[in-house]
């Protein structure tokens, strides 16, 4: 069963001059086909302006395609009658936690989503507690969000999405503004959601280290999907990735450098244990 399925997806918008007259069109997404099975963890990479955020916004119908079709859990996002169902199926988390938190107390913020869905009060509290627990923020339920660190705020934002019980969660650069610890906290929370709640996760990021556990990686450039495969396949193609302004994890880069210097090390090493094992065999 496909959670996300797109065929020949196109998104165009008008380019305007200073007076607001249309002077042409830009094509941000150009004929994308994508299949994301239910329960999987998918990462999307791509440089600034490659179309990855535009693609993400199609997954919960913030944008609807101007050509082709996007189905979310079998629902056509172009169909106005399905709009709310689509949004309930796919929850979204954005880059800046400060723009996503509205409550003055953590638990109120998390309860805001289910309340809007008309969930009964008892059930709301149950969901708030459950989702705060799953992101490891339960001890902060009475705290004021503006006293939290970036990583903590972002986990509250994720809990707010989880409380709506989506089948799928789309994270658009959720760690871009966080320090190393905050990044780790958020990635761990996402990891846990996948395992415990079987939520489909779509992660858009500029940090290569965050995608090594993904089932599939898509690389975008100029509105197209230009690379697709497992992390190991993708990160074996160092030069190609660099041509799309991407990078590889530092461990992969070190392995590549050692290969270049003549050591017999396999391609596509992702984790430090793998590199250490490969080197131990050479001794």
């Amino acid at each position: 069963m496909e959670m996300i399925h797109a065929e020949k997806l196109i998104y165009e918008y008008d380019k305007r001059d200073e007076e607001g007259n249309v002077i042409g069109t830009n094509r941000a997404i150009d004929g994308v086909d994508i299949d994301i099975p239910q329960g999987s963890f998918v990462a999307v990479l791509g440089h600034n302006g490659s179309g990855k955020s535009t693609l993400a916004k199609h997954m919960n119908a913030i944008l609807v395609p101007t050509g082709g079709t996007m189905w979310v859990d079998g629902r056509d996002t172009k169909d106005p009658a399905e709009l709310w169902n689509v949004r309930q199926t796919a929850g979204m988390v954005f880059q800046n936690p400060d723009n996503q938190i509205i409550g003055t107390v953590v638990e109120e913020d998390v309860g805001f989503g289910p309340e809007n869905l008309g969930v009964p009060t008892d059930e709301i509290w149950k969901r708030v507690e459950d989702s705060l627990r799953s992101v490891g923020m339960i001890e902060y339920r009475k705290a004021s969000p503006n006293k939290l660190s970036g990583g903590q705020k972002q986990r509250v934002a994720i809990a707010g999405v989880i409380a709506m019980e989506p089948k799928c969660i789309v994270l658009d650069e959720p760690t871009a503004m966080l320090d190393p610890n905050g990044r780790k906290e958020v990635i761990r929370a996402v990891e846990k959601l996948r395992k415990e709640k079987k939520v489909t996760v779509i992660l858009i990021t500029h940090y290569m280290e965050e995608v090594i556990d993904a089932d599939q990686v898509f690389v975008m450039d100029g509105g197209h999907i230009v690379m697709h495969g497992t992390p190991r396949e993708i990160f074996s193609r160092v030069e190609e990735l660099k041509s799309y302004r991407m990078d590889v994890p530092q461990v992969t880069m070190l392995a590549e450098e050692l290969r270049r210097r003549g050591l017999d090390i396999p391609r596509g090493i992702l984790r430090r244990e793998e590199l250490v094992e490969a080197l131990c065999r050479l001794r």
Binding site: G46, H47, N48, S149, G182, D247, L258, R272, L282, R283
Partner: protein
């Protein structure tokens, strides 16, 4: 020719329920021409620290000497200090506002009272230093890509010809190539002009690759101060305060544990590769 901080304390909202000591007895000296990295988790005091360097925030106690002069002394010219120490904030492109790139970069020197001609000359020089292509000088800054916008914003500070350039997370939100481009440009700038560069960063890998000295901040205090090798040797302590060493440093420690005869201090890919090759030969 240096900046010296002597026993700097800074307390937020003193005497209220929100009183918080953001800097505690910070002492450090940055000689002219050094490339320094400042690391620390969110809330560790690094942004407060750099705001002291050009007098934007005034210490509750302690002295700051710029080129030997006490900046808190009466009659000290703060405007002059701010033209000497240029601060580039996080997401500086949010501060762009002019109709075209060149006018935006002219804003700083214009405020310094220079003529239109001088302003443009400085702006062009700064854009060139920042590696910004000339064909976009007359374009609206809002139509540029994220990385280009950031270059324009950095050029806006360079146009004041500062002796010290302070960058607060200049690569946040950029793609990997964009990060490398900005940092390579800053490095070139540092080499060509001899400018002091102070880089606040969340990326241990970047800091290890570019700077010659790292200052680690934790809970308002200076926790460590040394070369990347010296600082990342304390990776276990760094982890306790929400930081880490570059990935390659961990690989080196793992290898040493597995019996490799090598020094685990490498902090960059080059250093690590050299050391591994040496130990295998």
């Amino acid at each position: 020719m240096s900046i010296a901080l002597e026993h700097i304390n800074y307390v937020y909202s003193p005497g209220t329920a929100y009183e918080k000591q953001a800097l505690k007895d910070v002492c450090l000296e940055i000689p002219q021409g050094q490339f320094v990295g400042i690391i620390g988790h969110t809330g560790s005091g690094k942004s407060t620290l750099i705001q002291h360097l050009n007098g934007l925030t005034r210490a509750t106690s302690g002295r700051i000497l710029y080129e030997g002069k006490d900046i808190y002394e009466e009659g000290f010219d703060m405007r002059w200090l701010r033209s000497q120490v240029g601060l580039v904030f996080q997401y500086p492109e949010h501060q762009l506002f002019e109709v075209d790139v060149l006018s935006d970069v002219c804003f700083g020197p214009k405020n310094q009272g220079l003529s239109q001609e001088e302003c443009e000359e400085r702006a062009k020089e700064a854009l060139e230093l920042g590696g910004f292509p000339e064909k976009y000088y007359r374009q609206s800054p809002f139509e540029l890509s994220g990385g280009q916008k950031r270059r324009v914003a950095i050029a806006g500070v360079l146009a004041m010809r500062p002796k010290v350039l302070v960058l607060d997370e200049p690569t946040a939100g950029l793609d990997p190539k964009g990060r490398d481009e900005i940092l390579d440009q800053v490095e070139r700038l540092h080499k060509e002009t001899g400018m002091t560069v102070i880089l606040v960063s969340h990326s241990m890998e970047d800091v290890a690759r570019y700077v010659e000295r790292i200052i680690v901040m934790n809970r308002g205090e200076k926790m460590l101060d040394g070369t990347p090798r010296e600082v990342f040797r304390h990776y276990k302590e760094l982890e306790k305060v929400g930081l880490a060493a570059p990935q390659v440093t961990y690989v080196m420690h793992d290898l040493k544990e597995r019996g490799f005869d090598l020094s685990p201090d490498a902090t960059t890919i080059e250093e690590a590769a050299d050391e591994i090759m040496r130990s295998l030969s």
